[in-house]
Symmetry: C2
Subunit: 261 residues, 2 copies
């Protein structure tokens, strides 16, 4: 395990010291010289190894944190990130969070943060096609765990008529499973996927560093009569989750193509 000091005149022209250091550590991590879960030398030691100040070492470590390669724990050290990935299918029943977890060898659980009646925001009222603009709805927030690691924050909005008969169950289980058990069948959904950096609030809920990518799964689920039953979003740790789908293009939309250059 050898390191290369790079002060005064660097080889690669004008590359900052903290970049040279973090790239060198990154290479060692990706080569497996530091295994997932293992500890890096302390900031003090790294400063001595590379011959730089602690400030510069800390900047290099920050670079690695932002790339998701290491995490720090106060009083303990700097640890190489362990890799996990759970796939969720969008083609099949979409919100079988618990079934997908179990199928892939994880124990899923739920912590309810909030379940309360409130006024619908204009956006939620529109998505749930509520008659009055400020109708009462149920607002639920819960955290999904895989093997005791928080992996997702789910925010769900239910019409009153749907949530009240199932209130007790909804506060304990996964959304979709509970609805099906309550004979509320979902036959379709409009969804969108995007990604956002974790805010301070989200980073505390999901135990990730500030700014870590989170996948946002937005959904509005319908019954067979196109009546919206539930809408909301699931913000999941992108280092743990991934969404899959199978797409069939039976009839290529040639008009659409005609528009393109």
């Amino acid at each position: 395990m050898t390191f290369f000091m790079v002060p005064s005149e660097q080889l690669s022209d004008r590359q900052p010291l903290h970049v040279a250091i973090s790239e060198q550590l990154k290479q060692k991590i990706e080569a497996g010289e530091y295994e997932p879960g293992s500890r890096l030398p302390s900031e003090f030691d790294l400063g001595a190894i590379f011959g730089v100040s602690r400030t510069t070492v800390r900047k290099a470590i920050t670079n690695l944190i932002q790339q998701g390669l290491v995490t720090t724990q106060q009083g303990k050290g700097i640890f190489v990130t362990e890799k996990h990935k759970i796939s969720f299918s969008m083609s099949n029943p979409l919100m079988y969070f618990d079934a997908a977890l179990k199928q892939q060898g994880f124990v899923g659980s739920v912590q309810s943060l909030r379940f309360q009646l409130t006024k619908a925001s204009p956006e939620v009222a529109r998505k749930l096609q509520l008659p009055q603009p400020l109708a009462q709805i149920y607002w639920q927030e819960k955290i999904y765990y895989a093997n005791d690691t928080p992996i997702a924050l789910d925010i769900t909005y239910y019409p009153q008529a749907i949530a009240e008969p199932l209130a007790a169950d909804l506060q304990q289980g996964f959304t979709y499973s509970t609805l099906v058990k309550g004979n509320v069948l979902l036959n379709g959904a409009k969804v969108s996927l995007e990604s956002v950096p974790a805010t301070y609030e989200l980073s505390e809920y999901l135990a990730v560093p500030l700014g870590m990518p989170l996948l946002v799964f937005n959904y509005v689920a319908y019954q067979s009569d196109r009546q919206p039953v539930v809408c909301g979003k699931t913000l999941s740790r992108s280092d743990w989750t991934c969404y899959t789908a199978e797409i069939d293009v039976d009839q290529p939309d040639l008009n659409f193509l005609g528009e393109s250059r």
Copy 2:
């Protein structure tokens, strides 16, 4: 526009100064007191305003950068991020990047970085169902622009028989449009979506800060005979892009449900 100095004894117990400062600035940004595109006070001025050292101001600004709220430009200043979002449909023909751009009022263009024959990696050979494990394939990398802003890096692998007749066009246009114009029809695809933080390399291609979330759209596209035609991934800036889909659940998979708790 008023600021609150918070040194020595902070109100909120034990909140670091840099967090207090970044949260206060965040609030002003989200309230619209600093409009998108406008400049914040300089680091020197912010230090004077809040009564802290420049190091602490820089840490606070870093917090905002990681949350995607501001970007910095050396010699110019700190600027509030402008919001854009382009939607791409996964249900309809999936790789109509250019049509989706045009439809949403953006001018799309492509810069080809690489188009070369190379040996297929084991993973690519498997996805393209190539007979020999190390068959020759075409490897293309290109950057997609929306109104001169780089928004995605696309990495595509083609079997030799597909790419060679269309080589000239493939190097100039969008993948899917070019294939269709070359009478290579795609009838389905297996896709997955995840998110990763930008590495130094990706942050340079896409002009984003280190660690910014990128959406990764992995795909293997098939012809009607299930023969893979193309595979690859599109890494797109999550501050510019979002994927949508409509899901139909005609026959809820009850066996699958039976497995869940």
